[in-house]
């Protein structure tokens, strides 16, 4: 194993996109009930649903999950926000007013038949409503209950404090180490504090399922999004412990692997990476070849300034070719439009081409880990509020048509409000 620079791989055959739908799913037979809004909770169960868990998403009748009204530049497509779709695939949408006694009972009956519960309400709210872990485990001791929150279920900050993604970015210290020296801290332009914590939550749910296989017992999982972000800050903490100092903002230079970083080039931006001496030597060779001379001897031959000058006059393609030729690594800085048009991402199902029964063709990001035997998949995208009421209340709980109608009349269950974000596409109402 002289080097890990890639050679031709034969792995492709095991991952054929065409065969995914005929393969089994890794989490088949796992039922998840979700009572959550916006991103942290919904993304957690979305990740499980991609791998075959049956996710029942419980929303309040009419308006449903408030994420339905988070629409980029106010834009709705076929009466749904594109920002809502990508968090809620492969789910069954039911609408129950869990604030009413009959609604709580209905919710508890579904939870009684579930393996996993995911919620992201303020700490203690579910318990106050009588449908928290303490109450539900009485009926279902195998229940794995993921309580996703900003600051945890106990401790000084757990009482009454709300949290969004950027609360976690802010209080964890992540934003303070992101951005340029002499400029303000930078908030990520996407909801990284939600998704990262959601992935932590999903991982712990799978670990708890493994434990349950041996013991039959479920458990309470308390996961704080701020604490998840704290866990991701690599050497920030040992550095603070050792030096008593704050790790400074380092702009686009990776201070652990200099001069690796993001550089401006002739047609955009490029990331240049050198993990070890061999790659640093390769980068230096490329810079020398470009300047037509060997660089002056000395300790600063690979300063960020010199790399910046090298990159500035070259295109992304030229720098990538130089990397391949000289033995360092590089990649272009790309955005969503590049992803959308990238054949590599489509060949991997990372940009997933979905044919949805209600909305037709819609492309989304697909599953991240590619599993050869039990691959993840997108089967359908999000649906209007209460879209699957009958399927769940009649199919899963065995309620009669009359019982369902009675619950509707009492407004215990319901469907969508007549508003963009909640309702079906025009002409598609059932």
């Amino acid at each position: 194993m002289p080097s890990d620079r890639a050679g031709r791989s034969s792995a492709g055959a095991a991952f054929s996109l065409a065969e995914i739908s005929s393969k089994p799913e890794a989490l088949e037979g796992i039922r998840v009930i979700e009572l959550a809004t916006r991103i942290f909770g919904p993304a957690t169960s979305d990740y499980l649903g991609e791998f075959g868990a049956e996710v029942i998403k419980v929303e309040l009748p009419l308006r449903g999950d408030l994420m339905r009204y988070v629409a980029p530049e106010g834009f709705y497509w076929k009466e749904v926000s594109p920002a809502f779709l990508s968090l809620n695939r492969n789910k069954l949408h039911v609408a129950i007013d869990v604030r009413l006694p009959d609604g709580k009972e209905l919710f508890a009956r579904i939870a009684g038949k579930s393996d996993v519960l995911v919620e992201n309400l303020r700490a203690g709210t579910m318990d106050e409503w009588g449908i928290g872990y303490r109450q539900l485990r009485e009926r279902n001791p195998g229940l794995i209950y993921a309580a996703n929150s900003g600051f945890g279920q106990w401790g000084p900050y757990s009482r009454g404090r709300a949290s969004y993604d950027a609360t976690a970015q802010a209080v964890s210290g992540m934003s303070a180490i992101t951005g340029f020296p002499g400029h303000p801290p930078v908030k990520a332009g996407f909801w990284v504090g939600d998704y990262t914590a959601a992935l932590f939550s999903a991982i712990s749910i799978l670990a708890a399922l493994e434990a349950r296989r041996r013991t039959g017992e479920g458990q309470l999982i308390d996961i704080s999004q701020a604490e998840a972000m704290i866990r991701t800050l690599d050497w920030t903490w040992p550095y603070a412990g050792l030096t008593g100092k704050d790790r400074p903002r380092a702009g686009n230079l990776d201070p652990a692997l200099p001069p690796s970083g993001i550089y401006r080039c002739a047609d955009g931006y490029v990331a240049i990476s050198a993990r070890d001496e061999a790659e640093r030597a390769g980068l230096l060779d490329a810079m020398n070849a470009a300047s037509g001379q060997a660089a002056a001897a000395g300790g600063d031959r690979l300063s960020a300034g010199l790399v910046a000058a090298f990159a500035a006059s070259r295109t992304q393609a030229e720098i990538l070719r130089a990397a391949e030729g000289s033995g360092f690594s590089a990649a272009p800085v790309v955005g969503g439009e590049d992803h959308y048009r990238d054949p590599h991402l489509r060949a991997r199902g990372t940009v997933w081409e979905l044919d949805d029964p209600l909305y037709g063709r819609i492309d989304e990001y697909g599953p991240v880990p590619k599993l050869s035997e039990s691959p993840g998949r997108i089967k359908w995208t999000a649906k209007p509020v209460g879209y699957h009421n009958e399927k769940v209340f009649s199919g899963l709980l065995g309620l009669s048509r009359e019982e369902v109608q009675d619950l509707e009349r009492k407004k215990v269950i319901g469907k969508w409000a007549d508003a963009p974000g909640a309702r079906p596409p025009v002409g598609m109402e059932r």
């Binding site: 080097s3 890990d4 050679g7 031709r8 791989s9 792995a11 088949e28 796992i30 629409a71 980029p72 106010g74 076929k78 594109p82 920002a83 318990d127 279920q153 401790g155 802010a170 209080v171 303000p184 801290p185 930078v186 908030k187 990520a188 332009g189 996407f190 998704y195 670990a207 493994e210 434990a211 296989r213 013991t215 458990q219 999982i221 308390d222 704290i230 800050l233 050497w235 920030t236 903490w237 603070a240 050792l242 704050d246 790790r247 990776d254 652990a256 692997l257 690796s260 931006y269 490029v270 070890d276 690594s329 590599h344 991402l345 990372t350 819609i362 492309d363 880990p369 590619k370 035997e373």
Partner: protein, 438 residues
């Protein structure tokens, strides 16, 4: 309160973790990820839940030990490595030698999971890839971590995976940071990397997730499998609605500083002692916030009276200025108290006014909340001294994750692994060591 917080604290107290069973006890992970932090993260996560992790380093030590911001090392090992070397045993082995590869195959026979960042093609060529190893161990879960993934048109590109490359391809820096104004733009008006190794981190997290999904499938069927994770795709998954927006509106996300194209206010505002996060984006919450800042009339101002109006860029900028007029005289804590004072009397959408100080790391460390919840661990290691580490973030009632050890020197557990696990004699181990195989 219903007393749930006290109950939850007693049930999930991290201080009691050591006496409880572990979720992944009995699972063995081999980590072959020289120079690669994402692989360390994947293995650490499994190790925190109780898997036995054996890190296989090249003789002489993992190149990642030499990653050393500001040149700081302890006993030859930098802080990034020490932050993620927990809960492992440390073996050395040269995979360049036939003898070393044979020993590796023997280790793989007894493993449940292999985590590797080495080239899949080279592993195959050397006879230690998934295809060869799964013949002898059909239940093996083989996790391959790379930049582009191990199949697809770009899979053969000769780039060595690193955090900055994962970030660049993920689409994250493209929408982080200040937009360009003027030409040439100022240096900070550029696509901006997340300051931590979030690309490598999310790659490792997705790797652990994939392994656990595969583990469940194996429990049902007995079959192992190949799990392929691209670090670029791991962080890409988090970049919101890029693809759906492109597909439905032909638009893609741009860089707009601390503003947000879909929700506002959702921003960092200046305050007397730095910056704080401020969000109140649904109508009811926005009305609450305008009352809190003493400008209730703005809730019906046509620039701000609906979510769609508030996310017009000129209105976001106007609102940012209005908020900072108020906040510049207050500390982040005073802002938090003003908001809590108001929202504690509300429930539902009107209470969704959300804040939080933009902490420097030392400010985070100074807050009692995290200490009480044992988010950090000061660990005294016999070799590496006293180190401050982030503890596992989950609090779990039955099988909590835990931090058991910090790090060891390369090959520190060779005897235990090669004699104890594989049954080699002490003389054989000495001989392998003399020949540079271990």
């Amino acid at each position: 309160m219903s007393g749930f917080d006290a109950w939850a604290e007693a049930a999930t107290d991290p201080g009691k973790a050591a006496g409880k069973p572990e979720a992944l006890a009995g699972m063995r992970v081999l980590e072959i990820c020289p120079g690669h932090f994402g692989g360390m993260v994947a293995s650490s996560i499994l190790g925190e839940f109780g898997a036995e992790v054996i890190k296989v380093e090249p003789p002489g030590g993992d190149p990642a030990r030499r990653y050393a911001p500001e040149g700081i090392t302890i006993e030859g090992t930098g802080l990034p490595f020490l932050s993620e070397a927990r809960n492992r045993r440390f073996a050395t082995l040269s995979l360049d030698e036939d003898e070393g590869r044979e020993i590796f195959r023997r280790l793989a026979r007894g493993a449940d999971v292999i985590v590797t960042s080495e080239s899949v093609a080279r592993m195959d060529e050397a006879g230690i890839g998934h295809a060869a190893l799964s013949v002898e161990n059909p239940g093996l879960i083989f996790l391959a971590l790379s930049l582009y993934g191990s199949f697809g048109p770009c899979a053969d590109r000769p780039a060595r995976d690193s955090d900055i490359l994962c970030q660049a391809l993920s689409g994250a820096p493209h929408i982080i940071g200040e937009p360009e104004e003027g030409s040439p733009p100022l240096p900070h008006q550029a696509p901006t990397r997340l300051g931590n190794w979030h690309g490598w981190f999310t790659q490792g997290l997705w790797g652990a997730f994939g392994v656990l999904a595969a583990l469940r499938f194996r429990a049902e069927t007995g079959k192992g499998q190949f799990v392929d994770v691209s670090g670029a795709e791991g962080l890409m998954k988090f970049v919101d609605y890029n693809i759906t927006w492109m597909h439905t509106a032909g638009k893609s996300r741009r860089r707009i500083g601390n503003f947000d194209p879909a929700v506002f206010p959702y921003t960092y505002i200046k305050c007397r002692d730095g910056h704080t996060f401020m969000a109140a984006y649904n109508d009811e919450a926005f009305e609450s916030l305008m009352t809190i800042i003493g400008r209730p009339e703005l809730a019906s101002d046509p620039r701000f009276s609906s979510p769609a109006a508030r996310v017009r860029m000129e209105n976001e900028k106007a609102l940012q200025a209005i908020l900072e007029e108020w906040s510049q005289h207050l500390t982040a804590d005073e802002i938090l108290r003003a908001i809590e004072e108001h929202t504690s009397k509300k429930s539902g959408p009107g209470a969704a006014v959300v804040t939080g100080r933009v902490n420097r790391p030392l400010e985070t460390l100074a807050e009692a909340n995290w200490r009480e919840r044992e988010c950090f661990a000061g660990v005294d290691d016999p070799v590496y001294g006293n180190l401050l580490l982030a503890a596992p973030p989950w609090k779990m009632s039955a099988t909590p994750a835990r931090l058991k050890s910090v790090c060891k020197r390369p090959g520190a557990d060779n005897g235990e692994i090669y004699c104890g696990l594989l049954g080699l004699s002490a003389a054989e181990v000495d001989s392998l060591s003399a020949r540079g195989v271990i």
